[in-house]
């Protein structure tokens, strides 16, 4: 009887080939009471501008911070993900897909944790570092990502800008949802990629200095923020060099509503209602339970 309920019987482990573990989970989604019956829950897409540029001595990555469904669901989400101490990855497409694929921490709820792949990319890379006693290479992360995404035939909707500095120098790749990759000196992805690319095509040159690279990627993201409706809010920048990683979260905040909100005059007691504002008609106190703090010793 216990035999029949074992998890590994329901989800047989198969080596190689396509993995249909999620079939039962998908059926339960369709039949569940949350959402519309008979439809899959809709994934949040990030509608994004992400960019990367290689400069003299490193790689600069940048991203906007807006996540959209039918409205903006997150005004300040983080799109630059950690893969290795020297490798970071910007993600466009479905937020959960990019988060899941690269992160070492699962963001799914407990019951569904069993069904996801054995190890995310950053976990796999950490194990490899421990096994080989060498720092990770960008091409390794790129290969793992493309194998993972090709395996799902484009259904994992993650479009990534992968950049880092390893023992062989600075490298920058793009990885597409179907698993194809490009190796380029400057790249853009997401719905704002055309606006950002127009900045690169007019301003990129070889052997940029670090400061020029920062200015260039920030300009590219701002072009996405102000010309693409799917991108917005702030600019995050990440500079990776041989010696260190400089993660500048909210490097530029061109859409700060603080000053505007502060300029709206409200009465000093706005939102604060002192006791006695509402007239108390009667008071009735009932005791539901008595709580004691005695410690009861149990038998060992």
């Amino acid at each position: 009887m216990v035999e029949e309920n074992r998890a590994d019987k329901s989800f047989p482990h198969v080596d190689g080939g396509f993995n249909f573990e999620n079939f039962k989970r998908n059926v339960s989604f369709m039949n569940s009471d949350s959402g519309i019956k008979g439809t899959m829950p809709k994934a949040w897409k990030t509608g994004t501008t992400i960019v990367g540029v290689v400069f003299d001595g490193g790689v600069a990555l940048a991203a906007d911070t807006r996540a959209t469904g039918n409205v903006i669901v997150d005004k300040n989400c983080e799109k630059i993900h950690y893969i290795a101490p020297n490798i970071y990855c910007c993600g466009a497409g479905t937020a959960a897909d990019t988060e899941m694929t690269v992160s070492s921490i699962s963001i799914l709820q407990e019951p569904l944790r069993d069904t996801h792949d054995t190890g995310q990319i950053s976990s796999q890379l950490e194990l490899l570092r421990l096994n080989t006693a060498k720092s990770s290479r960008v091409v390794t992360a790129m290969t793992m990502l493309k194998r993972h995404l090709f395996n799902y035939q484009g259904h994992v909707s993650a479009a990534l800008v992968l950049g880092g500095v390893d023992a062989t120098g600075p490298h920058l790749y793009t990885v597409y949802p179907h698993g194809s990759t490009d190796k380029l000196p400057y790249v853009t992805m997401g719905s704002g990629s055309l606006a950002a690319m127009s900045v690169f095509e007019t301003s990129y040159k070889d052997n940029l200095t670090e400061q020029e690279a920062i200015d260039l990627v920030a300009e590219a993201i701002k072009a996405g923020i102000f010309n693409d409706l799917g991108s917005g809010s702030n600019v995050d920048v990440c500079i990776i060099t041989k010696d260190k990683v400089d993660m500048k979260r909210n490097f530029i905040t061109p859409n700060d509503q603080g000053p505007l909100r502060a300029s709206i005059s409200k009465p000093a007691t706005f939102g604060y209602f002192p006791p006695g504002t509402t007239k108390v008609v009667s008071t009735d106190i009932e005791t539901f339970a008595t709580v004691t703090t005695d410690v009861e010793m149990l038998e060992a």
Partner: protein
């Protein structure tokens, strides 16, 4: 665009639309463009207005005609540029010719101003859209008339507006960000030309349906004129383009 062609297909498939046409009717409705031109970009500067468009006529993904002129002058003051279906643009040119003839016949010394032509074309395009048989073009209409520069645009369904700088098609995605960042009022001719070249160069790099053969046109107090096609300079000598597999024993990748 998908919705327009779907609704047009419904209308053309013989459904009984009151005041519409049936499938047996010899008059067909435009449901998709055949020979097409790509973006048109234009901006106002100190002396007037400048416009640019390449000379490619695409037949789907075939670069079929490499010397189509997509910017014309009319009425002595106006430039009209178009993207989209080229045969519909040739019909637009017939309409513009009719306006010129009308002016000549009335012979009161007044010809249509750029703004009047823009307004007229917007109405005609909206009228055709309302008959479910659009002229499949985005028009950019520019000119210099009585000391003032004019720049306006209409799309195939008649959405029209005036602006200091405009772009159509792919140019909306790639040239507009450049224009929004770098355009300022009263630029000199060389600054304006450089900005327009920068836009056309970026479009040549990234739009699949372009060629590097571009007509620049301008409308100033001397009148409208369209130059012969020229090439814009392009940069292909970045290290990674010249030697992409540098260190390829560790580069991996495609």
């Amino acid at each position: 665009m998908a919705t327009v062609s779907q609704t047009l297909a419904c209308a053309a498939s013989g459904a009984d639309v009151s005041a519409g046409r049936s499938a047996a009717d010899p008059h067909k409705h435009t449901t998709s463009p055949i020979v097409t031109g790509t973006s048109v970009v234009a901006l106002k500067y100190k002396d007037g207005v400048m416009m640019a468009a390449d000379t490619l006529g695409s037949y789907g993904s075939l670069s079929r005609f490499t010397d189509l002129r997509r910017i014309v002058t009319t009425g002595g003051y106006t430039l009209v540029g178009a993207d989209g279906d080229y045969s519909d643009f040739q019909y637009v040119q017939d309409i513009l010719k009719e306006l010129e003839v009308e002016d000549a016949c009335v012979a009161d010394g007044i010809t249509h101003s750029p703004k009047e032509i823009w307004c007229c074309m917007a109405r005609i395009l909206y009228h055709r859209r309302s008959k479910m048989n659009p002229l499949w073009n985005n028009l950019v209409i520019a000119g210099f008339h009585e000391g003032e520069a004019f720049l306006g645009t209409t799309d195939k369904i008649g959405t029209s507006y005036e602006c200091d700088f405009v772009a159509t098609g792919m140019g909306l995605h790639m040239a507009m960000p450049i224009l929004r960042r770098h355009w300022k009022p009263n630029m000199s001719e060389s600054e304006a030309r450089e900005l327009l070249e920068s836009c056309m160069r970026t479009l040549f790099y990234r739009d699949c349906r372009t060629i590097n053969k571009i007509t620049f046109a301008s409308a100033t107090k001397k009148g409208p004129s369209v130059d012969e096609p020229v090439e814009v300079s392009t940069e292909w000598s970045y290290q990674s383009f010249v030697d992409p597999k540098a260190g390829s024993d560790t580069g991996g990748s495609w």
